[in-house]
């Protein structure tokens, strides 16, 4: 069984937010939801000003506070390390959202639509697409995942469940990189198997000093950072994308 992890190289990240867009397109996430988020920070005073960037997906913790508080067992840790949400079980109590120190959960307020940014059912839109419904049809991905055969991605998402980064389980199970990793023009994101010493995550972690977000909480994230440093009180978030409606 692989042990999946992500490594974020902050020396390479240049804040373009391609990963945010890739996630959105791949997973058809609702408006104002960003399962992957890139912080942009500014520090210092002119002319000694610095800006830096920090991508933040779900941490897929080994000791996930969200799973602990889930009253129905919907949020669970898979053997390969992914923290998933079984949408057949989720009752939308949002305990996970409160328990997570990283703020990566999004409550699904509306019935799922094929795309959240346009009403593809509308006459004018259908006119443009010759009556068809782009873009990505998540219903294609509505199937059981993992050995436990639970619905954790794709069209099973319903109004009233909590959603978050799945490490693109639909791609990972097919041997592909998560969409954010595949699309990063700076090669700042690495994804792979910690058990495999040849994997890029093992290689990078072997070479560089790494740290994890809020390590002191004991959540044991599977997302590692190399380069730069965590945000501190002097870091001013800039160009914030309002992630909640």
């Amino acid at each position: 069984m692989p042990r999946y992890a992500m490594v974020v190289d902050l020396d390479r990240c240049m804040g373009c937010r391609a990963c945010m867009e890739a996630c959105k397109v791949e997973n058809n996430t609702p408006t104002a939801a960003f399962w992957m988020y890139v912080f942009r920070f500014e520090e210092g005073e002119y002319p000694n000003t610095y800006i830096w960037f920090m991508p933040r997906p779900c941490m897929h913790c080994d000791n996930p506070p969200c799973a602990k508080v889930c009253p129905v067992g919907a949020r669970y840790k898979r053997e390969d390390g992914l923290v998933a949400t079984d949408w057949d079980r989720c009752i939308g109590c949002r305990y996970c959202e409160v328990a997570c120190p990283y703020g990566v959960n999004y409550f699904n307020w509306k019935e799922p639509v094929r795309n959240y940014y346009l009403d593809w059912g509308e006459r004018d839109v259908r006119r443009v697409t010759n009556g068809q419904t782009p873009p990505y049809r998540n219903p294609d991905l509505d199937r059981p995942y993992g050995e436990e055969k639970r619905r954790v991605a794709g069209g099973g998402r319903l109004k009233g469940v909590v959603e978050k980064c799945t490490f693109c389980v639909q791609r990972v199970e097919e041997g592909l990189q998560p969409a954010c990793v595949a699309n990063c023009p700076a090669f700042a994101l690495h994804f792979g198997d910690l058990e495999d010493p040849q994997s890029s995550v093992s290689q990078v972690l072997g070479r560089k000093h790494s740290w994890r977000l809020l390590e002191e909480l004991g959540t044991e994230p599977r997302v590692y950072y190399v380069g730069a440093h965590p945000a501190h009180p002097e870091s001013r978030q800039i160009e914030e994308v309002k992630a909640r409606v």
Binding site: D9, D11, R12, M14, G15, C16, R17, A18, M20, E21, A22, K24, V25, E26, T31, A32, G44, Y46, P47, T49, Y50, I51, W52, F53, Y117, L118, E122, D124, V125, R127, V128, T129, N130, Q132, T133, P134, P135, Y136, R137, D140, L141, R143, R171, E174, G175, L176, Q177, A179, A182, N183, C184, P185, A186, F187, H190, S200, I238, E239, V241, K242
Partner: protein
């Protein structure tokens, strides 16, 4: 070669490691290898449950969400594009890219990177505000009232003219194309053109007048075809038809040029270069001029300057200074430049400096951020030049080479004219010293021109060698000539100096400290920058872009920075400066099957001065009446976008009667673009205005007719390359989804309404040669777009010399080709017609190219030893006598012939513009947010998700002074737009109001906004179509677009400030005020 694994043709992990070897060596192998490895699990899984990873659902093409035009892999489900990723075959997406020999099945699971704009492209394509049918205005221009009309009616009206708007009460005759197609005989056109050349060349006014009379006599039967027989150099009435564009790539360029120039015979075919980085192109054009025999003029002259520029080979650089360029946000950057830079940072190979008043994303990773005052870029370059000369840190070995033989001796691919002697006339440097000036012999030469031997003279250039004058030929391959670098002497009574000497004198006009004060930076920073730049041999580069060129002094800023590259001799070296190389689709290379220019039964010669007066001297024109000219002439530039519409407004040098605008939005994109609206909405100034657009945009809203067009996922183009790409490429854009516009019938063929359908239909109705039956020649029809474009693909497949062709596609690849296009209707994909367009012999090669989204050289072939394989490879000029002998048409003063610092801004009469004295104390600049591209992305909902509205960046000190805080609304006003308004319509204006973001990351006194937001059309407002309201979506109009605040030229009054030499439209020299608005 990779082995096949079973019947699905995919590859195993072991084989993938070998595939890794196929993509080439280098430090970056790991990244491509990682992506390739990610494909292997897919390859092995028996039943892929993820349909997007199947080759049959993938088509390769080229993005156009910005003009980088990266490769894309479009994943199609049920006939709809579902997701867009990067193309692993294309070096714009992956370093190193996958070997061209790899079969498409093998990379089906490899998604190469793409920037946020590229990924969001679907929502630009499937935009509910896209047009499917032709719109004709049903109210005054710009009223947003339209009616839908049949395509055939639009073509009939545009070709035939008439009282086209009588139904809305406009009782005026509108000229049609037929009326302007006055001169139809190519033979007469050619003769007139030759005669006009004689008239222009005549310097004596009386003799010039006599020649005009002789012209009138010679062509007395054809004078009615001219705009003005008293000024034959204006050309024929055909020139009163104008075609201009914003973004037009190869393919569509050749197609439209065939219509406008080669068949219809108008000279007015103009692009948008000067709104982007005109002075960058045209300064590099001046630097790349070659002294050669010119067939048309029958003598030697400076010619063949390339409209191009250099960028750094960041993959190998050890040090780069980026000036007014941000490859992490724009600059033809993501996704091709970023990995090359970030890899360099991560491995410690590279450090870079950034000169930019704003702390850009690139500056975020810089060794040194130098926030110089905007407009002083040239001063900074001269300061660095001064330090380099003072400390002799230049590459003297390189600079001494005066000719090709000398360069070859040193293994140098290029050489420069630093040592060539320049004559001083009354103290002013002008022409080069020639052998004849010293009484030395002139060479008699001859050349074959169309069967005739033409005799001409070559008067050698001269260098000083150990105090002795040595005449030489710059292209001599046998006799190496080196010159002394610093010369200031008198020879044969003539005062002469070397180019380097003159450069040094310009650089020493100020001390380093004075230069630093001009630029508003620390002298120590300049020194450190200069030392670093000269500490890495040829692996250092100065990489510049819009921030340097879009000033009134842009041309000289660019020249100064590019000269720094020459001083360290880094051209064509790894880590130095590179130039773009493409597989040529035109068919003009030996071994290519279809020369499209020659494949024309009746090609004509357009002639006459253009509406923008480009590449022509005012003094040579029959309009010359002393200085100033009515509007500026641009002898050193072309594609002067900002001059097109105002020149129509002033009918100078003649009125334009019909204009076609393709994929352009001058009203939105140009500085002071609002001035174009006044002209465009007036039918008396422009009687017929037709736009080809995918929606009702900021400029097409003023058109009489809008023809719906195909988006970048539905059409053909050849994206070409950019100078930072060291690999030779030709990405092909091809239809990957069914067309959105309606289907029509032209030349008996079904096709979607599009630019091509429109031009074909106009040609059909006019009976224009070069189109339809036998359009290419007997038995070769041009009825469909593919008849044209597939021939170009075949040329790309053939390569640039015999023996350079791609392999034939295998049976399996042909099957995949058809299968992956199963969703395309016959109106765009009919395999039999496609095959017929290129013939059996080329068909499988065409399939091979299209299956990979273009043609891409193998990674390893891009380098040879320490040099780049795709070279510039010739003379480069730090001094130009051609420029020195060219005059500013407004002042009559000659331009400097070498890099110089000219303070900005200046108006058309070369007087300083000093709005700061009137209280406009903030300096306005613009920038690119990586997720937006000028006018066409600000309405993409996925991109708006990342940035719903842009900001006005204000330094904390300025914010405190003005009492502004984050989120406050401010209006941007300037001396030429004191109300801060876009005058969109009579009685309707859009205020330039945006939200403040206070930052420490900008030079105090400078304010900035990012381009792409603040629309007033493009689906952001209501339209009335056929009497019904189509509601606009306010989300599409949020944010600020402050171009209308940019300075209107105080002399010309209907255009922005411009660089008189390089023609750049000026973005960065306006002073503004920020006025707080009620929230």
């Amino acid at each position: 070669m990779t082995e096949r694994n079973g019947e699905n043709g995919r590859i195993t992990r072991r084989q993938l490691l070998k595939a890794g070897a196929l993509v080439g060596g280098g430090a970056l192998l790991g990244q491509a290898g990682r992506l390739l490895a990610s494909a292997q699990e897919v390859a092995q899984s028996p039943a892929v449950q993820y349909p997007l990873a199947q080759a049959e659902n993938q088509l390769y093409s080229s993005c156009l969400m910005c003009n980088t035009g990266c490769g894309i892999k479009v994943k199609v489900l049920d006939g709809v594009a579902a997701k867009i990723d990067g193309n692993p075959y294309n070096p714009f997406n992956l370093v190193p890219h996958v070997s061209y020999k790899t079969a498409p099945h093998q990379v089906a699971g490899v998604d190469a990177p793409l920037c946020p704009k590229g990924q969001a492209g679907l929502l630009s394509v499937y935009d509910p505000y896209r047009l499917r049918v032709v719109l004709k205005r049903a109210g005054p221009r710009g009223s947003n009232k339209w009616r839908t009309i049949p395509f055939d009616q639009a073509v009939r009206e545009i070709v035939d003219g008439g009282k086209l708007f009588a139904d809305i009460g406009e009782d005026r005759h509108v000229p049609g194309l037929r009326e302007l197609w006055a001169l139809r005989d190519p033979k007469v056109a050619k003769e007139m053109d030759a005669f006009v050349r004689r008239i222009r060349a005549e310097k004596d006014p009386a003799k010039k007048q006599a020649l005009v009379r002789e012209f009138q006599q010679t062509f007395r039967d054809h004078l009615h075809t001219l705009i003005d027989p008293d000024h034959p150099d204006l050309g024929p009435k055909n020139n009163q038809f104008l075609y201009f564009w914003g973004r037009q790539k190869a393919g569509r360029t050749e197609f439209a040029r065939r219509f406008v120039q080669e068949s219809f015979g108008s000279v007015n075919f103009h692009g948008h270069t000067t709104v982007c980085q005109g002075s960058l192109y045209f300064a590099c054009k001046a630097m790349s001029e070659q002294y050669e025999f010119d067939e048309k003029d029958g003598k030697m002259k400076w010619t063949k300057g390339r409209k191009f520029y250099w960028q750094a080979d960041t993959e190998h650089s050890e040090f780069v200074v980026f000036v007014g360029a941000s490859p992490f946000e724009g600059n033809y950057g993501p996704t091709n430049r970023v990995p090359r830079l970030t890899e360099g940072l991560a491995t410690g190979r590279l450090k870079f400096a950034v000169v930019d008043p704003r702390l850009s994303k690139t500056a975020a990773k810089a060794w040194k951020w130098i926030p110089a005052r905007p407009g002083t870029e040239g001063a900074l370059a001269l300061a660095v030049i001064r330090w380099i000369l003072d400390h002799q840190r230049y590459d003297a070995r390189y600079l001494r080479n005066a000719n090709k033989a000398a360069a070859e001796e040193d293994g140098e691919p290029t050489w420069c004219n630093a040592t060539w002697l320049v004559k001083l006339e009354k103290g002013r440097p002008e022409g080069f010293l020639r052998a004849s000036d010293l009484g030395l012999p002139v060479q008699k030469r001859s050349q074959e021109v169309k069967g005739k031997r033409v005799e001409y003279e070559f008067d050698p250039f001269v260098v000083l060698r150990d105090g002795r004058p040595v005449p030489f030929d710059p292209y001599d391959e046998q006799n190496p000539v080196e010159g002394d670098l610093l010369v200031d002497t008198t020879l044969n009574g003539i005062r002469v100096k070397s180019g380097l000497q003159l450069l040094g004198e310009e650089a020493r006009r100020h001390s380093l400290q004075e230069w630093a004060e001009i630029c508003g930076v620390r002298a120590e920073d300049i020194e450190e920058l200069a030392r670093e730049f000269t500490s890495h041999g040829k692996r250092a580069a100065a990489d510049i872009h819009r921030g340097v060129s879009q000033h009134t002094n842009g041309f000289y800023n660019v020249w100064a920075w590019m000269t720094l590259n020459v001083l360290i001799g880094n051209l064509d070296w790894k880590g130095g400066m590179a130039s773009a190389k493409v597989y040529d689709p035109s068919g003009e290379k030996e071994g290519q099957p279809f020369n499209l220019k020659e494949l024309h039964p009746k090609r004509t010669t357009p002639f006459g001065v253009s509406i923008i007066r480009h590449e022509t001297k005012y003094e040579e024109s029959t309009l010359f009446r002393g200085y100033p000219a009515k509007r500026p002439w641009y002898p050193l530039s072309s594609d002067v976008y900002q001059e097109i519409v105002p020149s129509i407004g002033d009918a100078y040098p003649y009125p334009i009667k019909i204009a076609f605008l393709y994929m352009g939005s001058p009203a939105y994109s140009l500085p002071a673009g609002h001035t174009t609206i006044e002209v465009l909405k007036d039918p008396n100034k422009l009687p017929l205005f037709v736009a080809v657009d995918i929606t009702v945009g900021e400029t097409s809203m003023y058109a009489d007719y809008i023809l719906p067009d195909l988006s970048y996922l539905e059409r053909w183009e050849f994206q070409g390359s950019h100078p930072n790409m060291t690999v030779k490429v030709q990405p092909v854009r091809q239809p990957v989804i069914p067309p959105v516009p309606e289907t029509v019938r032209v030349f008996g063929e079904e096709m979607p309404i599009s630019l091509e359908a429109f031009l074909l239909a106009c040609a059909e109705r006019l009976g224009l040669p070069g189109f339809g039956k036998d359009g290419f020649g007997p038995g070769q029809d041009l009825r469909r777009p593919e008849d044209f474009y597939l021939k170009m693909v075949a040329n790309v497949a053939a390569g640039d010399r015999p023996g350079d062709a791609v392999p034939d596609a295998s049976d399996e690849e042909v099957r995949l080709f058809l299968q992956a296009r199963r969703h395309l209707p016959k109106s765009v994909f009919d395999p039999e017609k496609w095959k017929r367009a290129v013939g059996e012999a080329w068909w499988r090669k065409v399939v091979y190219v299209l299956n990979r989204g273009g043609r891409f050289q193998e990674y390893q072939k891009a380098f040879k030893g320490e040099q780049l394989a795709n070279q510039y490879g010739t003379l480069v000029s730090i001094y130009s006598e051609k420029v020195a002998k060219t005059k500013n048409s407004m002042t009559g003063k000659p331009f400097p012939g070498l890099p110089a610092y000219i303070p900005a801004p200046r108006d058309a009469l070369d007087r300083p513009v000093e709005d700061e004295k009137a209280g406009y104390d903030l300096h306005l600049i613009t920038y690119r947010e990586v997720s937006h591209t000028k006018s066409r992305t600000g309405t993409n909902y996925w991109l708006l998700a990342l940035l719903p509205e842009n900001f006005v960046l204000v330094h904390r000190q300025d914010a405190e002074r003005l009492g502004l805080k984050d989120g406050d609304l401010v209006r941007v006003t300037s001396a030429s737009n004191p109300d801060g308004m876009w005058p969109v319509l009579d009685g309707h204006s859009k205020p330039m109001v945006g939200r403040v973001r206070v930052t420490e990351g900008i030079r105090p006194g400078v304010v900035a906004f990012s381009l792409g937001h603040g629309h007033w059309a493009y689906g952001s407002v209501d339209l009335v179509i056929d009497g019904k309201v189509l509601k606009g979506d306010a989300r599409r109009g949020r944010g600020i677009h402050a171009n209308a605040a940019m300075r209107v030229d105080p002399v010309l009054k209907n255009v922005c400030l411009s660089d008189p030499a390089g023609a750049s439209a000026v973005f960065y020299d306006t002073r503004v005020k920020l006025v707080r608005e009620a929230s």
